[in-house]
Symmetry: C2
Subunit: 187 residues, 2 copies
DNA sequence: ACCTGAACACCGTTCAAGT
DNA sequence: ACCTGAACACCGTTCAAGT
């Protein structure tokens, strides 16, 4: 029997994640310190560090589910053959990043496996969607998954710094018109 | 007579700026702490804070000249009527931001007058250039100065996080093709 | 007028001591 | 097996004391 996880440990872990989620939402990911999270959860700092080896692991736990959903969404859009699949996926990514201030930076600089791994998974799903979209003509033939991912994250970051959600939409529109096939001119 | 600035004060200030410049270049703007800069310059922390009320003011001193040059460049390109003026200006901005790791974030989040003011000056010059470029057809008619500024900074930020200078060029190419007038289709 | 450096509250991180 | 909380080195920032 390996089920040696104690009840108080499970409770503490749940409390920590919930405290992190709230603090991230209130003050942003960057401004929320590990000690703050622990205090908010009512445990000592050591307990937080025992459950999560670093801040990125904590972020991964808080936003991981959403990242998984984005990966699923990419596959769904591809399977459904939506003609504006990539466009819709990038909107979803934009919306997700907007849910916590500082998340764009966290994702872009992810170095811990727990966070970076989940990013990779959703980026692979995006790559498949992009591949498909080049076939349907939604995207120019030379556009890659990383192109789309980087530009969308960049737009989210810029909009967070200035302009807010409206700016995000505006900038994504501009970027996207560059990724789209030019209007074909019949001779 | 108002020239009450002591010789040692002038020397200390120069040393501080030089120390900051080097430290920013070595470890990046974010990782360079104020205490590090003071130590490196061989003065006490208090002396640094006396000369610069906050870190942004120090950054402004280090990169201010380059920002001023970017403003001048915008006006020159406009005066010269270069057909690819905006494109060349954005390349210059990209290159400038690449000179210190973390500079994109510093510029985007500038809140202190000493830094934000210099950003505004160069953005106003860019706005004039963009206005002109819409006339020549380099840019779509609805593209604004802030559009160009935000997207270029965003690209610089993304490339810093992953991909480096080549990625920066690639992403800027993609973005720019979205800002450019569509190839006109004669009926 | 300017510099010094000790001081304060804080942060990330660790670890001996407990149960 | 897990939690606690003191502890360390650090950071941003201030300020009394010096010259």
């Amino acid at each position: 029997m390996e089920q040696a996880v104690r009840a108080d440990a499970r409770r503490n872990r749940a409390r920590l994640v919930e405290a992190a989620r709230r603090l991230f939402a209130e003050v942003g990911i960057e401004a929320a310190s590990m000690n703050d999270v622990a205090r908010r959860a009512g445990v000592g700092p050591g307990t937080l560090w025992r459950h999560f080896p670093n801040k990125e692991a904590l972020i991964a736990e808080v936003v991981g589910e959403s990242l998984d959903e984005l990966a699923e969404l990419a596959d769904e859009l591809r399977a459904a053959g939506a003609p504006d699949g990539v466009r819709r996926w990038t909107s979803a990514l934009l919306q997700h990043i907007a849910s916590y201030r500082g998340l764009a930076a966290s994702l872009a600089h992810a170095s811990d496996d727990l966070l970076a791994g989940r990013c990779v998974a959703s980026e692979q799903a995006l790559a498949r969607l992009v591949e498909h979209a080049r076939g349907t003509g939604e995207l120019r033939a030379d556009v890659t998954g990383p192109d789309v991912s980087r530009l969308t994250t960049a737009v989210a970051w810029a909009a967070e710094a200035a302009g807010g959600p409206q700016a995000a939409k505006r900038l994504l529109d501009l970027v996207f018109s560059g990724l789209t096939d030019r209007a074909e001119c019949p001779p």
